[in-house]
C-alpha cells in the first residue's frame, strides 16, 4: 500500500447554517482546494446521514461534485450513521493507498437544523434496532442515559465527572472560532447553584442538558493524496498512518456487558497496529463525546487509560489543554457541535490543524501524533484514525 497524506483541509462553522446543504458541503471543499493549491481531483467522497430525510436531497455527492465544477471526477456518497465522516475518510485512504487515485477529496456535510431538535433526535433514532429498540421510544440520548447509569454504578463515575467534561470542552470551544457553542459554563452554574436543576435539566437521567451535544449544521473537508502530490502542495506533511474499523451488536442490550465498547477497542487496536504506534504515543485526540460519558469511556477503550480510570485522569486534568494528553481541543461534539455526517471529518480537521501547528490558541505544543474516534450508532460501528506529522 502507498502512504497517504492530508494535503488540504477546510471547515465551516458548526452551528446553524441557513443556506442550502449543497453549498454547506461546497464551502469547506473550496477552502481545502485553496489550502492545497490543487484545482483538480480524481475522486470525491461525500459523507452525510440525513439529506434524504431532512433536506429532501438524495444523490448529494453528484450534486456537490457538479457544484464544485469538479466533473467528471467520480463521486460517491457514504452513509454510515454518525460515523459516516470517518468512514468516508477510510474510503479515501483506500483509494489513494491502493494506487487507484492520487487525489481524493473527502467531505462530510450535514444540515440537521432544517427540522426542530426533537425531530432531529427522532431522525437519529432511526439508526437503533427497529423492533427491539426504536418502537419503545429509544433515542440516542436514552441509550446514553442507560449506559451512563451502569457506568456510574460500576466505576464510580459521578455527575461531577460528567460536568467536568462539559466544562472542559466548552472552555476549549471558546478558543475555536468554528465551534457551535461559545458559552463558558461553570460547575457552579450547572451543578451546584440552587438554580442548577433548571439551568441543566435532565435529558435522559442521569444525563442532563449540558451532557449532550447540540444539534448542528456544518461541513468539513480533507484532501488526501499520495506523498508525491502532497510534497508539491507544500503544506506540512501529515500522514494518515492508521485506519481501524469495527462493529458491535445492533441492539445495545444484546452485548454481554453493555458498559464495554468492544467496537471502539477493536477499531483503535487496528488503527494503532497499522500506524505501528501505541496509545501512549498520542499527543492529542478527538473522541466522539456526543454525550459526556462517552469521552470518559472511549478514553479507556482506545487505550489511553485503564478501564474504569478515565474519570480519574479527567479529575487530574490530564485531558485538559496543557495536560499530558489533551482530548477534544476543538470543543468536541459537546461544544464544537455534532452535524452527524460531518463529525468524523471535523475531528480529522482538528487533528490535522494541531499536527500542522495551526491550532492557534488551542495549540498542543509539539503535537506529532494525533488520534480520532468516530462512534456510529451507539457504538455499533466505530472508525478510528491515527495521524502522524512528518519532517
Amino acid at each position: 500500500m502507498r502512504e497517504v497524506y492530508v494535503a488540504g483541509i477546510g471547515i465551516t462553522s458548526f452551528t446553524r447554517l441557513e443556506y442550502p446543504l449543497i453549498e454547506i458541503a461546497a464551502y469547506p471543499a473550496l477552502m481545502a482546494l485553496r489550502d492545497s493549491s490543487l484545482d483538480k481531483i480524481d475522486h470525491l467522497y461525500v459523507a452525510n446521514m440525513g439529506a434524504g430525510r431532512l433536506n429532501h436531497q438524495t444523490g448529494l455527492a453528484s450534486a456537490v461534485v457538479d457544484n464544485l465544477s469538479l466533473t467528471p471526477a467520480g463521486a460517491d456518497g457514504i452513509e454510515n450513521g454518525p460515523a459516516s465522516g470517518a468512514s468516508a475518510i477510510k474510503q479515501g485512504f483506500l483509494a489513494v493507498a491502493s494506487g487507484m487515485h492520487d487525489v481524493v477529496m473527502v467531505i462530510g456535510a450535514e444540515k440537521m437544523r432544517e427540522v426542530n431538535n426533537l425531530e432531529a433526535t427522532e431522525f437519529v433514532a432511526t439508526l437503533t434496532h427497529p423492533l427491539a429498540e426504536y418502537i419503545y421510544g429509544v433515542t440516542l440520548p436514552s441509550l446514553a442515559g442507560m449506559f451512563t447509569r451502569l457506568y456510574m454504578e460500576k466505576y464510580g463515575v459521578t455527575s461531577r465527572h460528567l460536568a467536568m467534561v462539559a466544562v472542559k470542552n466548552h472552555a476549549n470551544a471558546m478558543l475555536n472560532p468554528f465551534a457551535h457553542l461559545h458559552e463558558p459554563i461553570t460547575i457552579e452554574g450547572i451543578l451546584d447553584s440552587p438554580e442548577a436543576a433548571t439551568n441543566n435539566p435532565f435529558v435522559a437521567d442521569p444525563l442532563r442538558f449540558f451532557d449532550c451535544c447540540p444539534v448542528s449544521d456544518g461541513a468539513a473537508c480533507l484532501i488526501l493524496t499520495s506523498a508525491e502530490v502532497a510534497r508539491k502542495c507544500g503544506r506540512p506533511m501529515v500522514r494518515l498512518a492508521g485506519v481501524g474499523q469495527a462493529t458491535d451488536t445492533h441492539a445495545v442490550h444484546d452485548r454481554k456487558d453493555p458498559t464495554e465498547l468492544l467496537a471502539v477497542r477493536e477499531a483503535a487496536r487496528q488503527s494503532f497496529a497499522m500506524a505501528k504506534l501505541k496509545p501512549t504515543d498520542v499527543n492529542v485526540a478527538e473522541l466522539h463525546d456526543a454525550f459526556t460519558i462517552l469521552e470518559i469511556a472511549e478514553s479507556e477503550e482506545v487505550g489511553f487509560f485503564p478501564k474504569g480510570q478515565g474519570h480519574i485522569a479527567l479529575e487530574k486534568g490530564l485531558t485538559k489543554l496543557g495536560g499530558q494528553l489533551p482530548i477534544n481541543t476543538s470543543g468536541g461534539l459537546k461544544a464544537k457541535g455534532h452535524p452527524v455526517g460531518a463529525t468524523g471529518v471535523g475531528q480529522a480537521h482538528e487533528i490535522v490543524q494541531q499536527l500542522r501547528g495551526e491550532a492557534d490558541k488551542r495549540q498542543v505544543k509539539n503535537a506529532k501524533i494525533g488520534f480520532t474516534c468516530n462512534f456510529g450508532g451507539f457504538g455499533n460501528n466505530v472508525v478510528c484514525l491515527t495521524f502522524v506529522r512528518e519532517n
Binding site: 433526535t121 419503545y136 421510544g137 429509544v138 433515542t139 436514552s142
Partner: protein
C-alpha cells in the same frame, strides 16, 4: 390470549437469540430460517434504566421510563418501564402492551412493572 415477545432458537446449536438474526450468532451456520420460535420469559432483573425527557414528537407523555432487563433465561431485552422508583438489580415482570402509536398502527412491546 397472553401475548409474547418471541426469540429465535437455533435448530443446530440451541442458542436463543433476540432480536432476530438471519444467521445464528453462536454457531454461524449459514442455513436460512433454521430457528424455532420461542417466547421470551417475562420476569427478570433490571440491569439499567433511564427516564427520557426529550421524547420523539409522537409521544404525548412528559417522560418515558426505558430500561434493559436481564430475563430469567439470560437473554436481555430493552423495554419501557412502568416503575415509580426503579433501582438497578430490582426484580421486574413484563407485559406485552402497546408501546407506541402512529396514525394507523399500534406497536406492541414489553412494558415492565415491579415484580
Amino acid at each position: 390470549m397472553e401475548m409474547n415477545i418471541y426469540a429465535y432458537k437455533c435448530k443446530k446449536c440451541g442458542h436463543v437469540q433476540y432480536p432476530y438474526r438471519t444467521i445464528c450468532r453462536n454457531c454461524h451456520k449459514n442455513e436460512h430460517n433454521e430457528f424455532d420460535i420461542v417466547p421470551l420469559p417475562k420476569s427478570g432483573k433490571l440491569l439499567t434504566y433511564t427516564n427520557l425527557y426529550t421524547l420523539p414528537p409522537d409521544f404525548e407523555v412528559v417522560t418515558l421510563g426505558l430500561g434493559i432487563v436481564e430475563l430469567e433465561d439470560g437473554n436481555k431485552i430493552t423495554g419501557q418501564l412502568n416503575i415509580d422508583k426503579p433501582k438497578i438489580g430490582m426484580k421486574v415482570k413484563g407485559k406485552v402492551e402497546v408501546v407506541r402509536r402512529d396514525e394507523y398502527n399500534e406497536y406492541m412491546g414489553m412494558i415492565f412493572y415491579p415484580a
